[in-house]
Symmetry: C2
Subunit: 138 residues, 2 copies
């Protein structure tokens, strides 16, 4: 059964549909609070179960992500047909290292999440969802 | 002259290049702080001078945007070539109404920012940039 938002007319997607769409894309945007203001960073990511995984270097993105709530957004829109969808995952981010998560680290290491930018992105980050919302338009 | 980030190898774009790229797209993502956590909303927008303009209805997006700092992100990535760019505009958002900004309102009303979703999006919002950062990869 399809659900629609009365106010906007947009279709509201369930968690399963949201995760399926997120699994089809490779670039998402992580939003964090850093220095009291919102920051947005595009990352290339992979999906493992209901978690989103990406790599990052030490820096603002990592510090803010592991020390506060995060939102992770993925979308696809087609201007020609004015249609598309977006999914936002709210949750927390954690560093997956070999000590705290030896088996998980090994599994996630095998995912295709090598960043496009150069530099040593040694940290594997997992977003653990608390809620998932998705909307489809057009 | 091109500038590069030593750590990531990514090209750092100047404000003019950033705004030119933002002007070529139609969908961006506004990040705000709402209820102590980051929120991300895709919007279709237009550029007027160095401001980004979009429409929204009364609600979380509007309340958070006009009551705190915002980040506005636009990007374009090509998975096939692992290349692309992203621009993030930090600043504040303001409602452009006919009383406080009669001339500006008239100008902005003419921009192609009718939202794709249904519903009465009566508020015209302008993001006034405090800083613009852009990176290009690949």
């Amino acid at each position: 059964m399809k659900l629609f938002d009365k106010r906007t007319g947009m279709e509201v997607m369930d968690d399963r549909d949201c995760l399926a769409l997120v699994g089809e894309e490779v670039i998402g945007r992580i939003a964090v609070i850093a220095g009291g203001r919102p920051e947005v960073f595009p990352v290339n990511y992979a999906v493992a179960g209901d978690s989103v995984v990406f790599r990052t270097a030490t820096g603002t993105k990592l510090d803010a992500a592991v020390n506060g709530p995060v939102a992770f957004e993925v979308d696809r829109f087609d201007p020609a047909t004015r249609s598309g969808w977006s999914v936002v995952i709210h949750g927390r981010a954690e560093v997956v290292d070999g000590l705290s998560h030896p088996d998980l680290r090994q599994t996630l290491e095998a995912l295709p999440v090598d960043p496009w930018a150069a530099g040593n992105k040694e940290h594997l980050i997992r977003i653990v969802p608390a809620s998932i919302t998705g909307r489809r338009v057009g």
